[in-house]
Assembly symmetry: C2
Amino acid sequence: MLIEIDYNSNEALYLQVCNQIILGIATSRLSEGDELPSVRAMADSIGINMHTVNKAYALLRQEGYVKVDRRRGAVIAVSNDRIGAMEDLKEHLRIALARSRCKNISREEVHRLIDEIYGEYDREQEGSV
Amino acid sequence: MLIEIDYNSNEALYLQVCNQIILGIATSRLSEGDELPSVRAMADSIGINMHTVNKAYALLRQEGYVKVDRRRGAVIAVSNDRIGAMEDLKEHLRIALARSRCKNISREEVHRLIDEIYGEYDREQEGSV
DNA sequence: CCTCTGTTATATCTATTGTATAACAGAGGG
DNA sequence: CCCTCTGTTATACAATAGATATAACAGAGG
């Protein structure tokens, strides 16, 4: 899977890598059991340091998106800790929705936006694998 | 309005201040025209440095939640740049929903969560002012 | 004039981020 | 058995962000 780094973004490099892989899983461009490139290969291909990729992989493992074999490297393996994920999402939404509520974005508009994003996920899903 | 700092959080102090004020506006504990304490008074009351509060206020101004008079200090004044707010929300949701989708949280559950959070906003709204 | 406001300029310290070089242990292939 | 690849760890270094501290400035008002 292609990872693209935005150097103009104020988001840390290792988080960009992390998030793009999670997006890859959500859109089924990456599936359970798929192997990620080695930290060195990934670092080479996107032109950043090995340790930065290693930090991203370690975070992905900690958050339950990959498991790591000594030989196979990082393998997509999503743990289903639904309760924790639900709490994390709620905490994020609490502040994100507060911002949009201040800006007069209605609950219905948020619902529509959710559906729109899920639509994007499904659309990307078809053109892959 | 009472601001509470969580020193165990990994969120920056100035962001905690910023977010709690935005939550205050969303729940109508703060209303258009209300004056925030001066940066020095706020810093004193929550036990942090003046510059940290100043950074929070500057960010609130930049994101369009307050205006600043030389004499009155920071005053709640929400700009309604709906388009920008919508884009920001979408960008945040794209990655947040990807995470929850990986953890098998359904679109319907997200919709329910949205309503639940809006319920919290409305409930807090009644017991204030 | 004195006081309060946000703002700015320094300086200092710590933590985070990113890069760099190097080495280690385990697993597999020739 | 050796060579190579894997993640992992240990350093070191530079740059940036976060938080504190002291100090001063200009504007507005009593």
